[in-house]
């Protein structure tokens, strides 16, 4: 393992920003830290780079205590969210900076520095920008220069904080593909921060989902997408619909709901909660349907169907517009569910409802509030 983090904790005054982070990153791996704003992603990145320090925990790189090193000797390349290019230096000098400040014995001579910079300019496809100042570059170009500056010293670990956050959609997509290519070509162990799940899933070998200073789930993109480990991850990954259901012999059951497409779960019988993406719900017209269509809105490719249950519960379903010609406002429907995830309510699973025994830090304790 290139980088091992154990039980890392960071407090700012009374607020715990990181609460016991455990993470191991392999050599040459590309890992995404995914989480909502304020979940502690930047703080974790800064601690790895040595720009911030933990209150407890350990950080090792190749078994060496990395916390004992100063940021100057950690050999990490850091790309800041807003790039932090040196405004008074041309692109060429920005990229060369890390080489020119090496201690004398290790510093390459001027010719070697120029050669390395030229090589990077070419690699990053920004040769024509070499003599510009950062103020004369577009956002995407600045991003490339920032990456070039970070790569110039051949860091052991590359850290990128929301590398595409400030760019528009088209540039983001281009740069994403390009970054993947850069990572494959340079082979640098890379951790990047994002709050955009699509970005994380498309780019990363593994995704680390963070919420409120904790790691909620670590896994390959598809694994996380298909099997969120907690209600938090499910909600964060777009399961916006939550329904109270009953589990019976591993099957999800609820009135007005056809969940036969869901696989059997090895979960105890009893009440549970079903988390669904709007696109995984298909309304099927039925005389005795428990749900009624109260609104239809087209987004072009999709039809957004507003559904109201007889008890007043509302939800949205999304269906391809061309296949949904049979739907009309006022219609009674029942719901067919293609995919979803189920979490058992800890109260009912561990004790009779009359005497709740929820441990304070149970991962599902947040369900308490959302249950009727």
């Amino acid at each position: 393992m290139a980088l091992v983090i154990e039980n890392l904790t960071r407090r700012f005054g009374a607020t715990e920003v990181l609460r016991g982070i455990d993470l191991a990153v392999a050599d040459r791996e590309l890992v995404a830290l995914l989480g909502p704003s304020g979940s502690g992603k930047t703080t974790l990145l800064k601690i790895i780079a040595g720009l911030d320090w933990p209150n407890a925990g350990s950080l090792t790189v190749a078994d060496e205590d990395w916390l004992a090193r100063r940021p100057q000797t950690r050999e990490t390349g850091f790309v800041f969210q807003h790039y932090a290019l040196f405004p008074h230096m041309r692109v060429r000098d920005n990229i060369a900076f890390g080489l020119t400040v090496q201690p004398r014995p290790r510093r390459p001579d001027a010719a070697a520095i120029t050669a390395r910079v030229n090589e990077l300019l070419q690699f990053l496809q920004i040769e024509t920008l070499a003599d510009r100042y950062p103020a004369e570059l577009s956002g995407g170009q600045r991003q490339r220069v920032a990456l070039g500056r970070a790569l110039a010293t051949s860091p052991r670990i590359l850290l990128l904080d929301e590398p595409f956050g400030a760019l528009d959609a088209q540039v983001r997509r281009d740069l994403r593909r390009w970054l993947r290519h850069v990572h494959e070509a340079s082979g640098t162990t890379t951790i990047f921060v994002t709050h955009d799940q699509e970005e994380a899933f498309e780019l990363a070998d593994r995704v680390v989902v963070m919420g409120a200073g904790r790691i909620e789930q670590i896994g390959r993109p598809d694994e996380i997408y298909d099997h969120p480990a907690s209600p938090f991850v499910a909600r964060f990954l777009g399961h916006t619909v939550e329904l109270p259901v009953t589990l019976q012999a591993g099957r999800v059951q609820a009135r007005g709901l056809d969940a036969t497409a869901l696989p059997r779960r090895a979960l105890p019988d009893g009440p549970a909660r079903l988390f669904l993406r709007a696109s995984d719900i298909t309304p099927v017209p039925a005389e005795d349907g428990r749900y009624r269509i109260t609104d239809l809105a087209s987004t072009g490719a999709l039809l957004r169907v507003r559904l109201t249950e007889s008890a007043g519960v509302e939800m949205d379903a999304e269906v391809p517009r061309r296949t949904a010609t049979a739907l009309a406002v006022g219609q009674a429907v029942h719901l067919r569910v293609q995919a979803g995830c189920v979490f058992v309510d800890p109260r009912s699973a561990t004790a009779p409802p009359a005497r709740p025994t929820v441990p304070a830090d149970a991962p599902l304790s947040e369900l308490k509030e959302s249950l009727p």
């Binding site: 405004p87 041309r90 400040v101 090496q102 500056r149």
Partner: protein, 285 residues
């Protein structure tokens, strides 16, 4: 039929911000009456003298000596202000310590204090029986009635210029630049030299040239400690006053004009230096 063609005035865009005429007018009036007119009067007075006579007065030994003293002392004072002003700005911005606000307020005292008071206080302190003088004079260091006294008085009155120009720029400097430099391997001194200093350099130059210009013209704080011996510790602005008192208006005007030219040349040089340092701001965006 004329009604069908819209006139140009209909299309003319209106200014977004109202009040341009009034505010600009008042500004120009003020600049004209308070700044420009006196300078023009001075230049005219000097021009009246004629170039040959001008050179003659300006190169008279006593005038030359006064100018030399003034410029040398002002230059030394500016160096002092540059070094200590930068240091103070750095300390005030980068560190938190008890009494920081008090120190910050103290910086302004040379501006707030009547310069004559400053001059009297300094000469009392550095006199042979003063607190500083009692220590220095036995070592053979004489401050009052020497160029050192003039320098100290000038430095005292102009130090706020450097602190107050550098401080806000340093405060606004995003710490991410230094953090980026650190991750790239730059230790604090290198980061200061390569990143921080270039960022504050334009403001620093302004501060230094302001303190030099102020030192050139400083009168109240200097005359008490200088001793004002002709040919030795007589500053240029005092000589101008002496010429006026002798009803030698031309002599006074020549000295004043020389100081003015010096200040203008300095200002131009400082602007040039700034423009060079700010090249990177770029043409686009």
């Amino acid at each position: 039929m004329t009604a069908s063609t819209p006139t140009a005035s209909v299309i003319r865009p209106k200014r977004v911000l109202p009040g341009f005429g009034l505010t600009m007018g008042l500004t120009l009036t003020y600049v004209g009456i308070i700044i420009l007119l006196p300078i023009i009067a001075l230049v005219l007075k000097g021009a009246e003298v004629g170039p040959l006579r001008f050179l003659e007065i300006a190169s008279a030994p006593r005038t030359l000596a006064a100018l030399k003293l003034t410029i040398s002392a002002a230059a030394m004072a500016s160096v002092l202000c540059a070094v200590y002003g930068l240091l103070m700005a750095w300390v005030l911005v980068r560190y938190d310590f008890p009494g920081k606000r008090l120190l910050d307020a103290l910086i302004d005292i040379p501006f707030a204090l009547p310069t004559a008071v400053a001059g009297l206080t300094l000469s009392a302190l550095f006199a042979g029986n003063g607190w500083y003088g009692a220590v220095l004079e036995p070592q053979g260091i004489k401050v009052v009635y020497t160029i050192w006294g003039v320098t100290i008085a000038m430095a005292f009155t102009s130090i706020p210029f450097v602190v107050r120009t550098v401080q806000p720029v340093l405060e606004d400097l995003d710490p991410q630049y230094e953090q980026a430099a650190a991750t790239l391997g730059a230790f604090p001194f290198t980061a200061f030299r390569r990143i921080v200093f270039p960022a504050i350099f334009p403001a620093f130059v302004v501060g230094i040239s302001l303190s030099f210009a102020r030192s050139l013209g400083e009168f109240g704080a200097v005359v008490f400690i200088a001793g004002n011996l002709p040919m030795e510790t007589e500053i240029a602005s005092l000589l101008a006053v002496i010429r006026l008192e002798e009803y030698d208006y031309n002599g006074a005007a020549v000295i004043a004009l020389t100081l003015l030219i010096l200040a203008l040349v300095l200002l131009a040089a400082s602007n040039l230096l700034q423009a060079r340092a700010m090249r990177y701001k770029g043409k686009r965006q």
